[in-house]
C-alpha cells in the first residue's frame, strides 16, 4: 500500500517535473528565437573596424541585425535595451579542455586525454564534450561564447576537436564546427604518459610512421579495383584527412626543438599545422613566419616549469610584431585553478607589449580566424552570430566587471562579475 502510494506520488512528481520542464523549455525557445535586443555601449569594439563611440548593436533572433553609432541606428519599439560602458564581440577561446575536463578533477570528469595508446587520432571530442559542465558556465560568465574544445596535451595524437558555443544543453545545440582539428603533442608530457615514446626522436619517428601509413591508405583508397581498397580504418582516416587538408593539425609543442620537428614534418608530408603553446616560439620567429603557420600562444600566465620553463609573457607581442597570426587560449590545467580564463590571459598580454586592440583581437576575431569560424563569430557585424559581451569599464582591468553575456541572441548572464 505504502509502496503503491509512493509510486503514485513519485509519478505525480515526475509529471509536475516534466510539465515544468516543458513549460520552461517553451519559454526558453520563445525567448531565444524571437530575441530582439539593443545593446548600447559608450564604446563598441566591433573588431571589424574602428571602435564606435556611443554605438548600438541590434540583435534579432540569433544574429546581429545592425551595428552602428546611436545617431544612425534607431532602436525599434519592443527591443530590450541593455547598456554598457564597453561592448565587445563574444570572446573566442582558441584552445580549451573545458567541457572535456571537469571542475572536480576526479577520474570520472577528466575526459581530456586517453592514455591507452600514444596514437589515437580517431577519438572525437564530439563524443565526450559535456555542455552542462560547471566550468563552461564559469568561463561563459566571464565573456567566453565560443570555444575550440579538444583533448589535453599528452599523447602523440590524441583525437579531434570541436568548436562549440557556451550556452545550450546538448551537443547538437552548442556545436559550431563538428570537424575541428586533429590534435598532436610532442614533449615531456607524452614521454611521461607512455613507455614508448620515451624520447623526442622516437616521438617524431612514430608520428612520421603513422603519416606514411596514412599516405599508403589514401593511395589504396583510390584504387580503381574496389577489391584492392583497404578496410575502413578510423585512425588512418583521421590522419589522411590531415594530409588532404580536410582537417587541420594542431601540434601542442613548447620547446624550440619540438617546434622545429613540427615544421619539418609539415614540410615532409605537405600539411599546414597550427602551433599550440609554443613557449619558445620567440626563438624561432623567422622560421615560423617563413612556414606561414598560425600560433595559438600558451596562456600568458602559464607556469614556468618543465617544457614551459622558458615561457615569456611577451611572446604574443613578439609574434604579433613579426606578423605571425596569433590567438590566445586557456590551455590545459591539471590542478588548481582547473581552467584559465582568456579574458585574463589577454589582459596580461596587453600589459606586456601587445596593444589593447591586438590583445582583444587575439580572443575574438583573430582567434576565430585561426580556428576557422570567423564567418560566424569574432566580430560584431550584420549577419554574424549574436554573441556580445557587456563590460562596465576597460575589459582588461582587474576591477572591471563582465555585466552581460549574450550567446546566439540569448541573454546567458546579466549579473556583474
Amino acid at each position: 500500500m505504502r509502496t503503491r502510494l509512493f509510486v503514485i506520488l513519485s509519478e505525480a512528481k515526475n509529471l509536475i517535473k516534466w510539465g515544468l520542464a516543458f513549460v520552461f523549455s517553451f519559454f526558453f525557445f520563445v525567448s531565444t528565437s524571437l530575441a530582439q535586443i539593443a545593446v548600447k555601449g559608450e564604446t563598441v569594439y566591433t573588431m571589424s573596424g574602428a571602435p564606435i563611440k556611443n554605438g548600438v548593436v541590434l540583435i534579432k533572433g540569433k544574429t546581429i541585425e545592425r551595428v552602428g553609432p546611436a545617431s544612425q541606428v534607431n532602436i525599434p519599439n519592443g527591443y530590450k535595451v541593455m547598456n554598457a560602458k564597453v561592448v565587445t564581440p563574444g570572446l573566442v577561446d582558441a584552445h580549451t579542455v573545458v567541457g572535456l575536463a571537469g571542475i572536480y578533477n576526479v577520474p570520472h570528469d577528466q575526459m581530456q586525454l586517453e592514455t591507452s595508446s600514444p596514437v589515437q587520432p580517431e577519438l572525437r571530442a564530439l563524443d565526450a564534450y559535456n555542455p552542462r559542465e560547471e566550468l563552461v558556465e564559469w568561463v561563459r560568465n566571464l565573456g567566453v561564447t565560443t570555444m575550440h574544445a579538444g583533448t589535453g596535451p599528452g599523447a602523440l595524437a590524441s583525437g579531434s576537436s570541436i568548436v562549440v558555443k557556451t550556452h545550450g544543453n546538448t551537443i547538437t545545440e552548442v556545436l559550431v564546427d563538428p570537424v575541428g582539428m586533429v590534435m598532436f603533442t610532442l614533449g615531456e608530457s607524452v614521454n611521461d604518459n607512455f613507455d614508448s615514446p620515451g624520447t623526442r626522436s622516437k616521438s617524431v619517428a612514430m608520428i612520421r610512421s603513422e603519416f606514411v601509413k596514412a599516405q599508403e591508405y589514401t593511395k589504396k583508397l583510390n584504387e580503381k579495383d574496389a577489391s584492392k581498397r583497404p578496410d575502413r580504418d578510423l585512425k588512418l582516416e583521421a590522419l589522411a584527412k590531415v594530409l588532404s587538408g580536410e582537417m587541420k593539425a594542431l601540434f601542442t609543442v613548447q620547446t624550440a626543438p619540438d617546434i622545429m620537428a613540427v615544421l619539418r614534418m609539415a614540410k615532409e608530408f605537405g600539411f599546414k599545422p597550427v602551433l599550440d603553446g609554443a613557449a619558445e616560439s620567440y626563438l624561432l620567429v623567422d622560421e615560423i613566419k617563413k612556414a606561414g603557420v598560425s600560433v595559438i600562444v600558451h596562456p600568458t600566465m602559464v607556469r614556468p616549469g618543465g617544457d614551459t620553463r622558458n615561457v615569456s609573457m611577451e611572446t604574443a607581442a613578439t609574434l604579433k610584431k613579426a606578423g605571425i597570426p596569433i590567438a590566445l587560449q586557456s590551455g590545459f590545467e591539471g590542478y588548481v585553478p582547473k581552467t584559465r580564463v582568456i579574458l585574463f590571459e589577454a589582459a596580461i598580454a596587453a600589459a606586456n607589449g601587445l596593444s589593447f586592440n591586438d590583445a582583444l583581437a587575439a580572443i575574438t576575431i583573430d582567434a576565430a580566424r585561426v580556428i576557422g569560424v570567423d564567418k560566424r563569430v569574432g566580430s560584431l557585424e550584420t549577419g554574424k552570430d549574436a554573441d556580445v559581451v557587456l563590460f562596465d569599464g576597460d575589459p582588461f582591468e582587474y576591477t572591471t566587471h563582465v555585466c552581460g553575456v549574450i550567446v546566439n541572441g540569448a541573454v546567458a548572464s546579466e549579473t556583474c562579475r
Binding site: Y104, N105, W138, G305, K338
Partner: protein
C-alpha cells in the same frame, strides 16, 4: 650564469654600503603608507635600512647630503608580504609520518634560487616559506626577507635559528593529508591524530613546568615536543591549510581546545563561515584563483571571500602559494578581491600590514612608518591596475629589483633560461594549495 649572479650580488653589496651611509630620498610619488592616508607628491626618506620619514614635500626636510631620486608620477607601496609561499626549492616532512613538527624548512631552502627574484619582481619583500600540505603537520615554516643572501641566515628574520622562533608551524586538514598509512584515512582520524599529539605536548609541557628549572627532573629532549610546546605557548603561530567550511570549523575547534594561535590559510569556503571565523578571532590568508575547482575542496572558492570576511571583521590577507599563483602577479589577488566587493584600503592592507600581523612582524614591515624596515616598491601606476608594473623593489634600503635592468626585466616577464628549476605542483610531495 653563477659568476654573473655573484657579480650582480657584489654590485648590490657595494651599492648597499653606499646607500646605507647617506640618507636616500624618494621625491614626488604618490605614497600609500597603508597606515595613514595616501600622500600626494610625497617624500620617503630612508637611511641605514630603516625609514626615517614619510610625508608631503612640505613636511619632510630632505637633508643636504641625501641621494635624491625623483619618482614623480610613480606610486610607492610598502614591500608586499606573502604569507604562504613555496619558493626556494625547499621541502618539509617526508613520507614517514603524518605529523612532523620537528622538521624545519629553513634546512632545505636554496637561497640562490632565482625564485626569490621572481618574488621581488612581484613586489614581495617578506615571505612565509612553508613546507607542503600533504601532512597533518609538515614542519616549521620560515619567515624570510629577500636580502642579498649567501646563506639562509642572511634571509631569516630571526637572529639565531638555534634559539629563536624563525617561523610558524604548517598544518593541514581535508583531503591533501588523507593518504595511505601512516597517514590518516578520514577527516575524523585526522583530527584525532592531531589532538593526540597536542595532548602529548601538553603533558611534556607540564613536566617541564613541574621540573621548575631542576635539570634532573626535566623530560628527555624531544624535538617534536619542543616545537609543539612553542605552539602551545603561543610563540609559534600555526599556519593551517584548510578549504572546506567544515574543515575550517575543525581547525577553530582544535585551536580553542589547545589554545594555539592560528592563521587560516586558503580558506576557499571562508564566505560560508565568516561569522564563525570572526568570532574565533583567527585571521584569514586567502588566495585568488582564476577558476574554482581542480580539487574537490576548491569547487566553491569565490572571489567574494575577501569582501565577506572584511564585513565580518576578520583580519584578511592574501598569499600566492607560488607555484599555484605567480609571485610576480601578487597584486592581482587584491585587485580581484576589490572586483568582488572588498574595499580598496582593506585589500591593500591584505597585501602588506595584515600579512605582517599574521607573521608577528608588524613592528618591522607592512607599512611605511619611521623606524620600520626600508622595504618598499615603486610602481608605474595604480596598484590595482593590470597595466601597472613594479619598477623597483627595495629591501632595507637596497635596490633589489629594477625593471629597467634587462636581466631583471626578463625575470618579470620570463624568457630563455630565466628559471631553471621546475615548479612543483604535487600536493603530497612538496605541497601547494
Amino acid at each position: 650564469m653563477r659568476a654573473g649572479t655573484l657579480s650582480i650580488l657584489a654590485i648590490f653589496l657595494c651599492v648597499a654600503a653606499a646607500a646605507q651611509e647617506k640618507p636616500h630620498a624618494f621625491r614626488g610619488a604618490t605614497i600609500i603608507p597603508i597606515e595613514g592616508a595616501e600622500i600626494q607628491n610625497g617624500v620617503l626618506l630612508v637611511q641605514y635600512g630603516k625609514i626615517l620619514e614619510v610625508g608631503t614635500a612640505e613636511d619632510v626636510d630632505i637633508p643636504s647630503d641625501a641621494v635624491v631620486q625623483d619618482v614623480t608620477g610613480k606610486v610607492i607601496l610598502p614591500g608586499l608580504v606573502d604569507t604562504h609561499s613555496h619558493l626556494g626549492d625547499g621541502s618539509g616532512g617526508d613520507r614517514s609520518a603524518a605529523i612532523q613538527p620537528e622538521v624545519r624548512i629553513l634546512d632545505a631552502i636554496d637561497v640562490r634560487s632565482n625564485d626569490f627574484k621572481k618574488a621581488l619582481a612581484g613586489g614581495i619583500t617578506t615571505l612565509n616559506v612553508m613546507p607542503g600540505s600533504g601532512h597533518l603537520m609538515s614542519g616549521q615554516t620560515a619567515y624570510l626577507k629577500i636580502r642579498p643572501a649567501n646563506t639562509i641566515n642572511d634571509m631569516l628574520f630571526c637572529k639565531d635559528p638555534l634559539n629563536d622562533i624563525c617561523g610558524g608551524m604548517k598544518m593541514a586538514n581535508g583531503t591533501n593529508s588523507i593518504r595511505s598509512k601512516p597517514f590518516p584515512g578520514t577527516r575524523a582520524k585526522s583530527a584525532a591524530m592531531v589532538r593526540q599529539q597536542f595532548i602529548k605536548a601538553q603533558e611534556y609541557k607540564a613536566k617541564i613546568e613541574a621540573a621548575d628549572g631542576d635539570e634532573s627532573k626535566m623530560p628527555k629532549r624531544d624535538l617534536e615536543m619542543e616545537a609543539l610546546v612553542q605552539v602551545l605557548d603561543g610563540k609559534r603561530v600555526v599556519h593551517h591549510h584548510t578549504h572546506r567550511h567544515d574543515d575550517v570549523l575543525t581547525v577553530l575547534r582544535l585551536a580553542k581546545e589547545f589554545g594555539f594561535r592560528v592563521v587560516l590559510q586558503h580558506v576557499s569556503e571562508a564566505w560560508k563561515v565568516a561569522k564563525e571565523i570572526a568570532e574565533s578571532g583567527a585571521p584569514c590568508s586567502i588566495i585568488l584563483l582564476d577558476s574554482p575547482g581542480g580539487k574537490l575542496e576548491a569547487v566553491d572558492i569565490r572571489w567574494e571571500s575577501g569582501g565577506v570576511l572584511e564585513k565580518a571583521g576578520v583580519l584578511t590577507g592574501f598569499h600566492t602559494d607560488d607555484g599555484i599563483t605567480d609571485s610576480r602577479l601578487f597584486l592581482r589577488s587584491a585587485a580581484f578581491a576589490v572586483r568582488a566587493g572588498m574595499s580598496r584600503q582593506k585589500a591593500l592592507e591584505g597585501l602588506t600590514i595584515a600579512g605582517a600581523k599574521m607573521l608577528d612582524l608588524q613592528e618591522r614591515v607592512g607599512s611605511l612608518k619611521p623606524g620600520k624596515d626600508a622595504d618598499f616598491v615603486i610602481l608605474s601606476g595604480d596598484p590595482l591596475s593590470v597595466y601597472t608594473h613594479i619598477e623597483q623593489s627595495w629591501v632595507e634600503g637596497i635596490k633589489m629589483f629594477d625593471r629597467a635592468n634587462p636581466d631583471d626585466h626578463k625575470i618579470a616577464t620570463g624568457g630563455y633560461n630565466v628559471f631553471r628549476t621546475s615548479v612543483f605542483l604535487d600536493e603530497c610531495e612538496g605541497g601547494a594549495q
